[in-house]
C-alpha cells in the first residue's frame, strides 16, 4: 500500500481501497477466473455489443422511418446489398433497421418484465420464506401451480385475456416469470432463517424488516443475478414467440417474432426476411446465456463442477 506523497490527509481512494482490500482481492480473482472461461467472455462481449446497439441503435440506423410505419412498395423484396444490409421486406422496409430497432424494444420490454417479475417474486418469496406457516403455504402453492404450466401456454392465455399489444404482453410475461424468483428466494430464506448470523442479528435487537433487508436479502443477491442474466435471454425469446404467434408486439412496430412470421410466406425466395432477424436474436440470446452460465460458474459454488 502506498503512502500519499503530497497531501496531508491520506486520499479517500486509498483508504477505501484499504477498507475493501479483501473484497477487491476477491473481485479481482473472480474477474480473473471469469476471464479464463472464454465462452463466458465471448458472451459478455456479445451482451455489451447488444447493449450498445439497443441504447444507440435508433440514432444511427439508415432508415429510421421504416420502423415507424413508412413503406416503400417500389423497393420491396430486395436482396441484401450495400444499401440494405439485410435486404427489404414485402413492404419495402429495411430489415436491418427494423432488426436494430427491435433490439431496443426487446431490451426495454425484457428489462421491464424482469424488473417487475423480480420485485414481485422476491417480495413474495421473502415473505413466504421468512414467515413460514400458512402464509408460506399459500404463496408457495400458488407459485407451484403457476410453475406447472409449461412454456408459452400461460403467457399466451394471459395475453389473450389482456388483449393484443406490447403492454398486455409485458404484463403477461411478468406474471409468468415472478414464480421462479419467488421460489428461489423462498428457498434461500428458509435456509438462512435458521443460520447463526440471523440469530446474531436478532440477538442484538434488529427488527424483522431490518433482518430481511440488510441481512438475508444481500445473500440472495447472487442467486437472483445469476437467474436474471439467464432469464433475460428467455424473456426476449418469449416475447418474440408471442410476436410470432400474433399476439404481443403488433406491427408495424418491429418485433423479431412478427418479422420472422411475416417472412415465412416468402421462403425460400426472399430468405433474408426471416433469416436475419432470427440470427440476430439467436446471437443475443446466446450471449446472455453464455454470460449467465459464466456468472453461475463463478458465483454459485454448489452449482457446477469445475
Amino acid at each position: 500500500m502506498t503512502t500519499s506523497t503530497s497531501s496531508a490527509t491520506p486520499g479517500w481512494w486509498a483508504r477505501w481501497r484499504a477498507d475493501h482490500a479483501s473484497q477487491l482481492h476477491d473481485a479481482r480473482r473472480d474477474a480473473y477466473r471469469f476471464s479464463r472461461n472464454w465462452l463466458s467472455v465471448f458472451g459478455l462481449l456479445i451482451v455489451i455489443v447488444m447493449l450498445f446497439v439497443a441504447l444507440t441503435g435508433p440514432a444511427w440506423v439508415p432508415y429510421p422511418g421504416d420502423a415507424t410505419g413508412d413503406v416503400h412498395m417500389d423497393q420491396r423484396l430486395q436482396e441484401p446489398s450495400r444499401t440494405h444490409l439485410f435486404g427489404t421486406d414485402d413492404a419495402g422496409r429495411d430489415i436491418f433497421t427494423r432488426t436494430i430497432v427491435a433490439t431496443r424494444t426487446s431490451f426495454e420490454v425484457g428489462v421491464i418484465i424482469l424488473v417487475v417479475a423480480i420485485l414481485l417474486g422476491v417480495t413474495l418469496g421473502a415473505i413466504a420464506g421468512y414467515y413460514g406457516g400458512t402464509t408460506n403455504q399459500v404463496i408457495m402453492r400458488v407459485t407451484d401451480v403457476m410453475l406447472t404450466f409449461p412454456g408459452i401456454f400461460l403467457p399466451m392465455a394471459l395475453a389473450a385475456a389482456l388483449g393484443r399489444g406490447m403492454v398486455p404482453a409485458m404484463f403477461a410475461l411478468s406474471l409468468t416469470w415472478w414464480p421462479g424468483y419467488c421460489r428461489l428466494v423462498e428457498a434461500q430464506f428458509l435456509k438462512m432463517r435458521e443460520d447463526d448470523f440471523v440469530a446474531g442479528a436478532r440477538a442484538i435487537g434488529a427488527s424483522k424488516t431490518r433482518v430481511i433487508f440488510r441481512h438475508i436479502l444481500p445473500n440472495t443477491l447472487t442467486g437472483i443475478i445469476v437467474k436474471a442474466s439467464m432469464d433475460f435471454g428467455f424473456a426476449v425469446l418469449a416475447l418474440a414467440s408471442l410476436g410470432f404467434i400474433g399476439i404481443g408486439i403488433q406491427p408495424p412496430e418491429p418485433d423479431w417474432g412478427s418479422m420472422i412470421a411475416l417472412g415465412r410466406r416468402f421462403m425460400p425466395g426472399a430468405w433474408w426476411i426471416s433469416t436475419f432477424p432470427g440470427m440476430f436474436m439467436f446471437i443475443m440470446v446466446l450471449g446472455f446465456n453464455l454470460l449467465g452460465d459464466g456468472l453461475r460458474d463463478l458465483l454459485d459454488p454448489n452449482a457446477t463442477v469445475k
Binding site: L39, R141, V142, D144, V145, M146, T148, F149, P150, G151, I152, F153, L154, M156, A157, L158, A159, A160, A161, L162, G163, G233, L237, A240, S241, F244, I245, G246, I247, W256, G257, I260, A261, R264, M267, P268, W271, S274, T275, G278, M281, F282, V285, L286, F288, N289, L290, D293, T304, V305
Partner: protein
C-alpha cells in the same frame, strides 16, 4: 412405495383445483366484457345476452367458479367459437398428435443428449467437452420457431428430403385410427407404408422439439456424471484394477440412466413449452396449434381449455416420472 403413490394421488385433486383456479382467475381478468369475448367479435347483442345468462356471469364470483368446476368435471370444457364444437373432445383428439410428437421428440433428444453428456464428462475440458457444451447452450438459445422455419425450408422446400408440413400425406388415404397416434395405429393395422409415411412427416418437428431436450439433458447429465466421477466408488473400482472402459459402460451408465429418469419430468415440461411454436410452423395438428389458432381469434374458451389441459398433463407426467424414478433407483426402492 404404494404409500407414496397413494399420497401423491390424493394430492392431485388439490393441484387440479389450483390449476382451475388460475385459469378461472385469468378468464375473469379480461378487461372489458368477458361475455363479448366468449361470444366472439361477430356476435349480435341477443347472442351476447343469452351467453351471459348461460355462463351465469350475473352470479357472484364463487358461485361462478363452482359452476365452472362442475362443468369441468362433467366434461363440459366450453365451446369453441371457431368451429362451434365442444372443446374437450377436440382437445383429446389433438392431444394424441401432440403426445405422439412429444414421445418421439423425447426419445430423439435422449438418443442425442445422453452420448453428448457422456462424451463431455469423459473428455472433460478437452475439445469434445467444449463442443458438447456449446451444442447444449446453442440448442437452448436458438429461437425454436426460427430454427424450425430454417429446417423446414432447407430440408423440406429446398432439398425435398422431408415433407414441409402436416402430419400425413394428403394424397394417401388416412390410416385407420385406434389410439389417435399414427405410429401406433399404422403398426396395429399392419400398414407398414403408413408407418414410414408418418415417420417422415414427424421427423422435422420432432427434431426441433428435441433440441431443448438435448440441451437440458447434456448439461444436467454431464454435471451429474462429473459428480459421480468424484465419488470414491470410482476410485475404488480403479484401485481394484477395473478397466476404465468398464467403469464407464457398466457402472456410470447405470447411474446416469437413473439420473436421466430423475430429470425426465422437468425436461418434458420444457419440451411442451416449445411445442406450440413447433406445431405452428409445421402445421402439426396438436393442441399447440389448436391453441395458437384460438389465440389469434381470441377464442377464449379454447385457450382456457388448452391451458388447463396442459397443466393437468404436466401434473400427471410429473407423477409418472417420479414414480418411475422411485422404481429405478435402488436406494429408494429398497429402503
Amino acid at each position: 412405495m404404494l404409500r407414496y403413490v397413494l399420497t401423491r394421488l390424493l394430492w392431485i385433486p388439490v393441484v387440479l383445483i389450483g390449476l382451475s383456479l388460475i385459469t378461472f382467475g385469468i378468464s375473469r381478468l379480461v378487461p372489458g366484457d368477458p361475455v363479448k369475448l366468449a361470444a366472439g367479435p361477430q356476435a349480435r347483442p341477443e347472442q351476447i345476452q343469452k351467453l351471459a345468462a348461460e355462463f351465469g356471469l350475473d352470479r357472484p364470483l364463487p358461485e361462478q367458479y363452482l359452476r365452472y368446476m362442475g362443468g369441468l368435471v362433467q366434461g363440459n370444457w366450453g365451446y369453441s367459437i371457431g368451429n362451434r364444437r365442444p372443446v374437450l373432445p377436440d382437445l383429446m383428439t389433438y392431444f394424441a398428435a401432440t403426445l405422439e410428437l412429444t414421445v418421439v421428440a423425447t426419445i430423439m433428444g435422449l438418443l442425442f443428449g445422453i452420448p453428448l453428456a457422456v462424451v463431455a464428462a469423459r473428455w472433460r475440458d478437452l475439445w469434445p467437452d467444449h463442443v458438447s457444451r456449446m451444442v447444449a447452450i446453442g440448442a437452448v438459445s436458438i429461437p425454436v420457431f426460427w430454427i424450425a422455419i430454417i429446417l423446414q425450408v432447407m430440408f423440406g422446400q429446398v432439398l425435398h428430403w422431408f415433407p414441409v408440413s402436416g402430419r400425413y400425406d394428403p394424397r394417401q388415404s388416412y390410416p385407420q385410427t385406434y389410439t389417435g397416434m399414427l405410429l401406433v395405429d399404422t403398426l396395429l393395422a399392419g400398414n407398414v407404408q403408413g408407418f414410414f409415411t408418418s415417420l417422415r412427416y414427424m421427423f422435422l418437428p420432432a427434431l426441433c422439439q428435441s433440441l431443448v431436450v438435448i440441451a437440458l439433458v447434456t448439461r444436467q447429465l454431464r454435471g451429474d456424471l462429473l459428480d459421480m466421477l468424484r465419488k470414491d466408488f470410482v476410485m475404488v473400482a480403479r484401485a481394484n484394477g477395473i478397466k476404465e472402459r468398464i467403469i464407464w459402460t457398466r457402472y456410470l451408465m447405470k447411474n446416469a440412466m437413473i439420473a436421466t429418469v430423475a430429470m425426465l419430468g422437468f425436461v418434458i415440461g420444457f419440451e411442451l413449452g416449445g411445442n406450440v411454436l413447433i406445431e405452428a410452423v409445421f402445421d402439426w395438428p396438436g393442441i399447440g396449434q389448436y391453441a395458437t389458432k384460438a389465440a389469434l381469434m381470441l377464442d377464449f374458451q379454447v385457450i382456457m381449455g388448452v391451458t388447463l389441459f396442459i397443466g393437468v398433463v404436466v401434473v400427471f407426467v410429473n407423477l409418472f416420472t417420479d414414480v418411475l424414478y422411485r422404481l429405478v433407483d435402488p436406494r429408494i426402492r429398497f429402503s
